[in-house]
Amino acid sequence: MQKVQIRGRLRHLGMVIGASSLVLGTLTISVAANTVSATAATKFKACVVTDTGGVNDKSFNASAWQGAKDAKKINKNISISYLSSTSSTDYVPNINKFIQQRCGLIVTVGFLMDEATSTASNAHLSQKFAIVDDAPSTKSKNVLSLQYETDQGAFLGGYLAAASTKTGAVGTFGGMQFPSVTLYMNGFVAGVRYYNKTQGAAVKALGWNPASGKCSLGKCDGTGTFVGNFSDQTAGKTITAGDFAAGADIVFPVAGSVGLGSVAAAQQAGAGHSVMWVDTNGCVSDAQYCSSFIGSVTKGVEPSVRDAILSAAKGKFHGGTYVGTLKNQGTGVTYGGITVPASVKAKLNAVAAGIKNGSISVNPNDYPAS
């Protein structure tokens, strides 16, 4: 009786073994073949550790990853891979993972990763790092810090906004009061003031009062309007609607996705109200809202990451600081879905040339406040 039962069970033996072996078998067999991948590492490997946004955040992390992909397109010997951090606890293990995989260059994204990058760079002096948008706390020679003088691009944005406003006022606000945010706002206000001075206009700039002195990538003080985070779109909508009520018709949100709240406010307020997008070309990253954008002030994360990888692949890596400017496309302004007259575009080109050759200052304190 017992034996009959046993034989009945045995019928299913093959099926169970088959199912298990598909998984466990491939596992054990292929573990043995692991040595192959370790030896075939003649290529240059570029590795990106993204922040919690991941490679599809349509912003910073996406740009850094795009920069890596661009580098691969140019130099076929470069292989790329990325790890996204699910939280700040992942920074260290992700960086370690790539150190272990002998990446030629590890690109970390954002100033929140400063500490993890600094620690790792001090512990592994032969490992090359590049960190996007951060002035690193370490002075290790194996870290290249990619920084962007976004006030130059924002200056053009402010000029464009001042030249385009019908109501005589424009506004700006930030996510949180970091130098990387306020630098944009500072440049924007400077652009508006420069427009007033040179064109004899009196366009008001709401939302940012620069402190005296000069702004730099590390420090940019003043008082202004801030959401307190980079995610609350409702707050962005409220602030923008407030700016519209105060007489502005163009708003420049420097707050990541909070800016989508500004877009909603502009759409609600109707024709004549528009938004200046930040960091990326809004008509590419958020194409569906292109008709609401007067333009975008960009941060050239892609070209800088691409160039950092390409030069590291050539063995020409230099630690220190890369500064993105108008000249090297590290920042700039692009036009949006709203038509800008050719005369304004011509003036903007002249201003850009002036900033590039240093004849036009981007410090708002050099111009009278309106």
Binding site: I6, R9, T26, T52, S81, L83, T86, S87, V92
Partner: protein, 417 residues
Amino acid sequence: MPRAFTQFANAWVRLTSKSPIVVTFFAIVLGLLIGALIIITTTPAVLVSWRGLFHSWGGLGHALKVTFDNVGSAYRDMFSGSVVNPPEFWHALTTGKNWNQALTPISETLTYATPLIIASIGVGLAFQTGIFNIGANGQAILGGIAGASVATLIHLPMILHLPLTMLAGIAGGMIAGSIPGLLKAFTGAHEVIVTLMLNYVVALFLIFSLLSTALQRPNQSNDISRNFDPSAQLAPLFGTASGLRVSWGIFIALAVVVFAWWFLDRSSLGFDFRVTGANPNAARASGINAKAVIVMVFLLSGGLAGLAGVVQASSTTHLIDGGFLIGNAGIGFTAITVALLGRNRPMGILWASLLFAALGVGGRAMQASTGIPLDLATVIQSAIVLFVATPVLVKEIFRLHTAQTGAVQLATKGWSS
């Protein structure tokens, strides 16, 4: 020969019995199978190779090879990234060099498992008493906040500072746990609702406290605490220079496992807990103070969750920030599934935590070298839990029969309690 065959068949019968361990094993196999299926259907190279079959059947061998190569390399990376990389291990064994590199995968797995074990034991203890503690994550966060306060604001020698930091974490978790405990005991408020909602309260309190002058790092405007004093950090087991992150916290986790086993199986209070979980009416009739038990369970469960939070901060990041245990990093939520997978038994939870940590760590290695997203590990984890929660399904798929020994049943009654 026939005798050997009978012995083998008997072993096979034991193997295919419906005991929880066997069901769990087959659930893991099924989870990995589903993972393989997803790799096959989402990897372009594999799909392209199968598309070749529309033109000629000659491509079958090639398609199979590409499929096995891709699935194989994904699982190989997962294994060698989380347990051991055989060539590296062999190299270390034969030459005595690069031991650190050979031990890194298992060290990472243990690092991730450490807080998970503690939090899951906390959740499992509550489950055993018939109580759903969905608030372990909030309790862990509050434990982290309390621990960070002691670790950054008070300066003491390590012999006092470290224990005090851990105790602060436990106290923080107990405070968060006492709220739903008292509410359930004295007003009958359902613990699922209260604990779930408290998670949001605590998450916002985290931001609030990190932006307060007391905890916020000086000269910084974002939500990040100071670094823990070195005297309040759980040091790496093999020293900082080794690069291995596994810390002394693993011994805290093991101590918690032993404590939980002793508590449930050997202590009289633990007996009261289990009786209450198995049959609240019988417990009340036999003179067990139900209200006291409910409050005690929440204190214990919350305290362990709080300990998990502070161990996490003290052993890995040495600080807490606005993303501390938020979102995907929420070990308190993972702990619920781990406790379920471990059938609320201390040893089961220990193994389940190691499995989940290995899948997470291995998933990272897989993403780094094959580009298959880390999320696949989450899918596999979820699939395993799904199959464990539906033993009937596993039983039918593998035609398992009823074991001679009684199967362990979940004590939790859920909404009916």
